[in-house]
């Protein structure tokens, strides 16, 4: 098992190399001249050249690339002009907020969409099937920032069930001691139910927004792969052997149908991490997405680069986790490796 994980870690290496090359290229084609930007508007060509030399921008690209990789290895992502902090520190400080939101969104989404997809396939043609199809088509059509705003209007302005969309925790509470960085978990660990409630009241609306967004692909794939598996020969064999419908559906069909669903999770994560940026903006969520947006507005590029890189590496790691999960479910992959 450990050997397989190591092997799969290996397959992630080319992706990470690709990610680093692309982010490096993105930093080199930044608008305007990085040196000119640092030197300020009134700089002389000579001053710009000097800055270029100090930043190493007059070196050939491969040398610059090596320097870039060296910086990355030491966690040096540059300084943010807006916060005055190293980008690396900013991002590590804000990452838990994004992670908590994304994971909770995914959890809600899976808890709803997988049973929905299974029921739709088992009761093909029933109302639940139609519901599933509507959710699947409508869900992917909803602009996530728009859904978020609608939910805010309904649940905050109209019904008052949710607090104002202003971050992770109301200012009257102080954040729980950091263990995981996730407020929901940290507050429970600290035994502080009140803070947990406060954190929950802030997070449920953005998490539901994300869940609605990622519901569609999972429900659709669950339904489609369940349908395919239910029509397969081995399910017929199981039925002809007199196994209980519950055993046939959950024990035989579902585990097989899960495989394409796990694969879809990779794509869902890609969508979720992107949607996360938009949702953070709508709910003023202090994660790395809103950090990047603030930086973009002030033309502060180091945080943007750091953000893209962090997201990409996070995504590569998530895909790795998905691969390992897949290997756990499917013996064919396990033995091939």
């Amino acid at each position: 098992m450990l050997k397989q994980i190591v092997r799969r870690l290996g397959t992630a290496i080319p992706s990470i190399i690709g990610v680093i090359i692309v982010t490096f290229l993105l930093t080199r084609v930044l608008p305007g001249d990085t040196a000119a930007y640092f030197a300020g508007p009134a700089a002389t060509p000579q001053a710009i050249a000097e800055i270029k030399a100090t930043l190493g921008l007059d070196q050939p690209l491969p040398v610059q690339f090596l320097a870039y990789v060296k910086d990355l290895a030491t966690g040096n992502l540059g300084m943010s002009l807006t916060t005055g902090q190293p980008v690396f520190e900013d991002i590590t400080a804000r990452l838990p907020a994004s992670a908590e939101l994304t994971l909770l969104g995914l959890l809600i989404s899976v808890l709803v969409s997988v049973p929905l997809g299974i029921l739709a396939a088992v009761k093909q043609g029933s109302w639940i099937d139609h519901l599933c199809r509507i959710v699947a088509t409508a869900g992917v059509s909803l602009p996530v920032f728009f859904t978020g705003l609608l939910l805010v209007y309904v649940f905050y302005y109209k019904l008052g069930w949710a607090p104002a969309p202003m971050g992770r925790l109301d200012f009257i509470y102080s954040a729980p001691d950091t263990v995981t960085g996730l407020y929901l978990i940290d507050s429970l660990l600290a035994g502080d139910i009140e803070v947990f409630r406060a954190a929950w009241s802030q997070i449920w609306l953005p998490a539901v927004t994300l869940a609605i967004f990622s519901l569609a692909p999972i429900a659709r794939m669950t339904r489609a792969s369940m349908l395919a598996v239910l029509a397969s020969d081995f399910v017929r064999t199981a039925r002809a052997s007199g196994l209980k419908p519950s055993k046939v559906v959950m024990g035989y069909a579902f585990r097989n149908a899960l495989l394409p669903v796990i694969t879809t999770l990779g794509m869902v994560f890609s969508f979720l991490l992107g949607a996360n940026v938009l949702v953070e903006k709508v709910f003023a969520w202090p994660g790395i997405g809103s950090y990047a947006i603030e930086a973009l507005i002030t033309s502060d590029y180091a945080p943007v680069q750091g953000f893209v890189l962090a997201m990409a590496i996070l995504y590569v790691l998530l895909n790795l986790a998905i691969d390992i999960l897949y290997g756990l479910v499917d013996p064919r992959v396990r033995l091939e490796a």
Partner: protein, 577 residues
């Protein structure tokens, strides 16, 4: 419910009622085009210990009948009329949970394509346990032990090891044994075998059938064998029931049905079944107009060698397992001994001759035909055609060679080999357009129509797309396309494997007639010795990439020299005549 004692009790009684008693069974399917009757007013009885064969071509309703008996029709199908009595229970009216208790315990089913019939991600032993536990034949504590016993019963070597295997780790024949084990685990009274050997090699086929017969006899079980192969049914069943378009046309003793078939359809089907001592002509229905003695083209230089193959080898690299860091960086491990798909074969084909190339799957016959077609480059060896060394021209450039038109192929799957977006006429015209016939417009159309007439394809079907044609019609289009450039050698790659036997009979006769008319040579690739015997002058038997026997077809069939050929021949099911 205690079926066993009831049955045993009845067994003592000589006036026992049939185990299975189906009356007026009608099954309907809801489709887009309205309700379709797949099975109509079928009567069927099966006594304890009896073996019944249900024979029919695709769409005859033979499988649907058995699914109705097990009540595992899919959602669109329903039993519209009639009754199904099984050991005194009305299956049609019983509750779902009652029927479920019967399935697997009192009646079981085995399917074609055994690998697909098993859960791909569950250990086979666990799958057997599931059935045993479901029907309270085992407790979780002793399930493993009992499952291994069941594996032993179907003669699986090293059952303790196989218990932990996943289906993809087992051969097709082994998977079928597991499926049989699954079906017989709870010692049911009725076994339904739905094309249990289709897709398996002939030798495996025989082993599987023999096992089924042995086990069911031993346990005094009743069996229904569903097959398209009349020979198989007659060889293994007491009685045979023939179905056509959802109706039973004839039921009789196996022997009687072969000796004196009553219904015209049975006669046609029986005639079409390739068997000992008959010629191609005999396969066609009696009422088919006798061929107007096809004008035989005098073969120029008959007997001269057309194709000479010397020491042909095809190797595929076998990738050694890569480990550790080398694997990480995509460095391939040391190359192991390459796999030899074709291992140094030599033979020749004379002008006007037809040569059979016979063997089971994986013997290298398809690889050989791909190399002869010059779609694949051999690793070493010579392919000489009319004295020209064709193996010197790489496969990639062969399409542009003038020799391309001299060798053509008829494909195994007529559907797959036609471009879905080309009409029949366009498909037939393709080689004429590409290989410089210079024909265009009306002249091209006239030539295509001539070809269509030659292969018996109605000219009014020429503007149809493949999905609008039947299997037999598509086969004709494929043949017309192959003979369009007037080739001297045609390779027939199992050209009838995907067709029903009556269509096969017609297509085989067509091929024979075309050969006589046009004076071509054939290489007929097949797994079916009986068909090869009728069509070929000489035969080559291949195994593991080598030729094990070669000779005149009749001589090889009558007195095989190689052990393997004898084994192949003895595996062909022969009706009890």
């Amino acid at each position: 419910m205690n079926m066993h004692t009831t049955a045993d009790h009845a067994g003592a009684n000589h006036m026992q009622p049939p185990l299975l008693d189906v009356r007026d069974l009608t099954v309907e399917f809801a489709t887009r085009r309205g309700t379709v009757r797949a099975v109509e007013k079928v009567d069927l009885t099966l006594a304890k210990g009896e073996t019944l064969g249900i024979v029919g071509e695709s769409g005859s309703g033979k499988s649907v009948t058995s699914y109705a008996v097990m009540r595992i029709l899919d959602r669109a199908g329903r039993i519209a009329e009639g009754s199904i009595g099984f050991a005194g229970i009305d299956i049609g009216k019983a509750s779902e949970s009652d029927v479920r208790a019967l399935r697997g315990r009192e009646m079981s089913m085995i399917f074609q394509n055994p690998r697909a019939a098993l859960n791909p991600i569950r250990k086979v032993g666990k799958q057997i346990e599931d059935v045993l536990i479901e029907h309270v034949q085992a407790q979780p504590s002793d399930a493993k032990e009992k499952a291994i016993e069941v594996l032993k019963a179907v003669r699986i070597a090293r059952p303790e090891e196989r218990y932990h295997a996943y289906p993809f780790e087992l051969s097709g024949g082994m998977c079928q044994r597991i499926v049989i084990a699954l079906a017989l685990a709870c010692r049911p009274q009725l076994l339904i075998a739905d094309e249990p050997t289709t897709g398996l090699d002939v030798t495996t086929q025989k082993a599987v059938m023999d096992l089924v017969v042995e086990l069911t006899r031993e346990r005094n079980m009743s069996t229904i064998l569903i097959t398209h192969d009349l020979g198989l049914a007659a060889a293994y069943c007491d009685r045979v029931m023939v179905m056509e378009k959802g109706k039973v046309v004839e039921t009789a003793n196996a022997e009687a049905i072969f000796r004196a078939p009553q219904h015209p359809y049975t006669r046609k089907l029986m005639r079409a079944t390739p068997r000992k001592g008959v010629s191609l002509r005999d396969l066609l229905p009696e009422d088919a107009a006798p061929a107007a003695a096809a004008p035989t083209a005098p073969v120029k230089g008959a007997g001269e060698p057309l194709l000479v193959v010397e020491n042909l080898v095809k190797e595929y690299p076998r990738q050694a397992p890569t480990g550790g860091l080398a694997g990480l960086f995509g460095i391939k491990g040391a190359v192991a001994d390459p796999f030899r798909a074709v291992d140094g074969i030599s033979f020749s084909v004379a002008r006007g001759e037809s040569l059979g190339l016979v063997g089971e799957s994986g013997c290298g016959k398809s690889t050989t035909s791909m190399m002869l077609m010059r779609l694949l480059d051999p690793t070493s060896g010579r392919i000489e055609f009319k004295g020209e060394e064709l193996s010197a021209i790489p496969a990639k450039r062969f399409a542009g060679s003038p020799w391309r038109s001299r060798i053509q192929l008829v494909f195994q799957d007529p559907t797959d080999s036609l471009n879905p977006r080309y009409t029949a006429a366009r498909a037939i015209a393709d080689p004429l357009l590409r290989m410089g016939s210079g024909l265009a417009g009306a002249a091209l159309r006239a030539k295509v129509e001539d070809l269509a007439r030659l292969v018996g394809l109605p000219v009014n079907l020429l503007d149809r797309f493949p999905h609008q044609l039947s299997g037999g019609q598509k086969a004709r289009v494929g043949i017309a396309r192959a003979i369009a450039p007037d080739p001297e050698l045609v390779i027939l790659d199992e050209p009838t494997a995907a067709l029903d036997v009556s269509v096969q009979a017609v297509v085989l006769n067509l091929l024979q007639e075309l050969k006589q008319r046009l004076g071509m040579s054939y290489i007929f690739v097949s797994h079916d010795l009986e068909v090869v015997r009728m069509l070929c002058d000489r035969v080559i038997v291949m195994r593991s990439g080598r030729i094990v026997e070669e000779g005149a077809t009749e001589a090889v069939m009558a007195a095989p020299k190689a052990e393997y050929t004898r084994e192949l021949l003895s595996s062909i099911p022969h009706p009890p005549l």
